[in-house]
Amino acid sequence: MRELTYAQALREALTEEMERDPNILLMGEDIGVYGGVFKVTEGLMARFGEERVRETPISESGFIGAAVGLAMMGKHPMAELMFMDFAWVAADQIFNQACKMRQMSGGQVKVPLVIRTQQGGGRGNAAQHSQCLEAHFAHIPGIKIALPSTPSDAKGLLKQAFREQDPVVVIEHKLLYNTKGDVAEQMDPILFGKANIVRPGRDVTIISYSRTVLHCLEAATTLAAQGVDAEVIDLRTIMPLDMDTVLASIRKTNRAVVAHEAHRNAGFGAEIAARIMEQGFQHLDAPVERVGALDVPIAYSLPLESATLPSPDKIVAAARRAMRMEA
């Protein structure tokens, strides 16, 4: 096993998939010569040429729409959306076009399109560059959603994204690109819909995905010191959603916390909490606790941004509430 950064792992996945399938091609702003602003596609244009690694104008609607057209005609494009916050300039092409073409045509077309993007705060990028928007994708049928938290998952889930025959959004986190982790040389794609128990525990189930998983693990360490043995589940994909793993854990712990970086109000945590209640009510000894960003635009200034976003401390506090322990 080697250690790779999350960015390197993603690049390896792209390279392997492009070698495997000549129909795969990449499109996006600055992804060619420069290798993307987060350097994920570095070297790929030199390797695969300008036709397969296509630099685009700043026209997210245009090139994501073009990717939909390519996908319908037999290609397997990946469109890079530089920041998740820009999904809204391309939203019609994602939600009204990519998500619906198969159904509207009665199955005559498919749209095997991978959208890669990154989201999240913590860098002082302010309100228009810090948002987490996976809930918007989850609400619209027709697209699968992967949110890797480690380099290994980044590689495995991105590889799987190119095996799917439907639109997939792979949502990365800007603060994960430089994190390191073991990544197998030979690696199978990670099937969607299989959550990962990243820390087993008996007392409380903490459910999360993407970078917040790291916060949860930190919280679990703190909780352990306080005598609370937390199980941490990394969902990996939220569409499909692995409720089996979640419910099995809750049958054991009887308590749950859902944590994500997206705003709490109408965040995907609400869906998870609601499903836990629906499917595991009799096993719950306390209400499912939710941790998410405060419901305000994310401010630039460090103390404001920090207090707005979730943190290990807030997850600890939520777990203690779920345990009916004193704050």
């Binding site: 091609l25 036709e51 296509r54 685009t56 104008p57 026209s59 609607s61 245009g62 090139f63 994501i64 729409g65 073009a66 990717a67 939909v68 057209g69 390519l70 996908a71 319908m72 005609m73 037999g74 290609k75 494009p77 019609d92 092409q93 009204n96 076009q97 073409m101 198969r102 159904q103 509207m104 045509s105 009665g106 199955g107 005559q108 077309v109 498919k110 049928p141 027709g142 699968k144 799917e164 025959q165 439907d166 969607f192 819909g193 569409m239 499909p240 959603l241």
Partner: protein, 324 residues
């Protein structure tokens, strides 16, 4: 580059079919059998027929909610199309798409779009796919004068131009976007002026003249097949009916409509040309009766077809229907 008499008769037939088909849909709509909104292209049939005659089956078409004529001219099965109007499982989209999303991949007809300008970015990719595969396939998109003002149109035309894709942008300028006259939505005299912003070749064509339309599209097709990139065609035309069924048309004068109907009905114009070339009125009537018969057959087929089973709801969402 005119049409031969045979071709012109073919075009005439396609136009008759479109009109008869839509009139039948109108009837079925009034009976409550067609749901949603119905946007007819009556008066615009030459644009559709002239285009289709310039294309091969393998060429691609993306149209919109006002696309019945385009798809019929391009060869969609009238039976499957009519069954779609009635929401039947035998419909071209199994009843899931309805009037606004007709698809027939065997004829190069990609899903029609109900979002104004929604299909323009898509056509760029569809055209690019063929280019990457070394095919000489072209991809045509139809959109209206109103759609020209959408951001997606701008982005798509710019992409098409820089990537030199074999796409043809046909802007059917029928002078209105829904109930709003073009004078309120653009300062341009001709929308073809927009193409210069991308250095894309453009032509303006009298789209009620099926020969002129065919010639304009043929030229664009030639350019596209040669690898010379996209073309913008402003197809000047007029919708002789309301934007949708129920449109009171208070935004335009009866005289204006009447003048277009009397002087510029594309089917009449094509018929006159055929007569001038020695085709008999009886022959024309036979073509038109043939179209009527096709529509009657389609309607009978559609009515006799079953509605989709509710289990179909979960089919065609994902490849494996792995719903959450």
């Amino acid at each position: 580059m005119g049409l031969t008499t045979e071709q012109l008769k073919d075009a005439y037939g396609r136009m008759c079919l479109a009109r008869a088909f839509e009139r039948k849909c109108e009837e079925l709509f009034m009976q409550g059998q067609v749901r949603g909104s119905l946007h007819m292209s009556i008066g615009q049939e030459a644009s559709a027929a002239g285009t289709a005659l310039a294309l091969r089956d393998s060429d691609l078409l993306i149209t919109n909610y006002r696309g019945h004529g385009h798809a019929l001219a391009k060869g969609i099965s009238p039976r499957a199309a009519m069954a779609e109007m009635l929401g039947r499982v035998t419909g071209c989209c199994k009843g899931k798409g309805g009037s606004m999303h007709w698809t027939d991949m065997s004829k190069g007809i990609l899903p029609a779009n109900a979002i104004v300008a929604g299909g323009l970015p898509t056509v760029v990719g569809a055209a690019l796919a063929g280019k990457l595969d070394g095919l000489d396939r072209v991809a045509v998109v139809f959109f209206g004068d109103g759609a020209a003002n959408q951001g997606a149109t701008h982005e798509a035309m710019n992409l098409a131009a820089i990537w030199k894709v074999p796409a043809i942008f046909i802007c059917e300028n029928n002078l209105y976007s829904e109930m709003t006259p073009i004078g309120k939505t653009t300062t341009n005299k001709d929308l073809a002026e927009r193409a210069a912003a991308y250095r894309m070749p453009a032509t303006i064509v009298d789209a009620n003249d099926v020969e002129a339309m065919h010639a304009a599209v043929s030229e664009a097709v030639t350019r596209a097949r040669r690898g010379e990139g996209p073309t913008f065609i402003e197809a000047k035309t007029y919708r002789l009916v309301g934007h949708m069924i129920g449109d009171s048309q208070i935004y335009r004068s009866k005289d204006e409509v009447e003048e277009w109907r009397a002087q510029r009905d594309p089917i009449r114009l094509a018929g006159d040309k055929l007569i001038a070339r020695g085709v008999t009125r009886a022959e024309l009537d036979a073509i038109s009766a043939g179209a009527d018969a096709t529509v009657a057959d389609a309607a009978a087929f559609a009515s006799a077809s079953a509605f989709p089973d509710v289990s179909e709801i979960f089919v065609d969402v994902f490849e494996h229907n792995a719903l959450n």
